[in-house]
Subunit: 119 residues, 2 copies
């Protein structure tokens, strides 16, 4: 079945959440948003491209930082309202310079920092 | 630092996306939504509890199907607007009876089914 981004379910703002997972380690790196055009660009270029809600523009991940995400696999969930992009991540995925954005855990009622920024 | 669900960032509807990841395999299983009360219940009970947008009620994952998610670790992202719950998943996470909701891939422009429903 040929894939058409228009067949996905988007929010009223035309967005769909995209989870990025490290292809090598399985680590969940981040979650950001795509729109139909950024999905098409991601698939065409092999370079993961989100939609920046704050800037209202394409966000080619790593374009300024060099911390790019090379697309390895593009997946859709059962409800067609969430995406999973499996990626080769260069450097940290998080803007805090940590490998993953999910570096804070809640354990025994307290927040714990699980990883430090990369050098 | 003591954790207070009120310090997270929610949508206008009071919701926050929660990604569920298999503790044993690292597989991304599903994405659903929580509100502050379902987060508190998840942490208190150790049983992952979402907020059902369609039913507008707590959704204790697996309560009717038996396909429960036991909480292993609860993580918050850098922007405090997305959650990652690491879980022990009993049976399939997906309502289609597949292990993961992300069973469709887009490869060479076509949709490909990656896994079949579990027996």
């Amino acid at each position: 079945m040929s894939f058409d981004p228009a067949t996905l379910t988007y929010t009223e703002a035309g967005l769909i959440p995209a989870i990025a997972q490290d292809a090598a380690t399985g680590e969940v790196l981040m979650m950001a948003w795509m729109n139909a055009a950024s999905i098409a660009r991601t698939l065409e270029t092999g370079r993961v491209t989100y939609w920046s809600r704050s800037r209202q523009s394409f966000w080619v991940k790593g374009e300024s930082s060099g911390h790019v995400q090379e697309l390895v696999d593009f997946r859709i969930d059962c409800d067609r309202d969430c995406l999973l992009v499996v990626v080769n991540q260069t450097g940290p995925a998080c803007h805090t310079n940590r490998r993953s954005c999910f570096y804070t855990a809640v354990r025994d009622g307290a927040e714990v920092e699980l990883m430090k920024p990369m050098e």
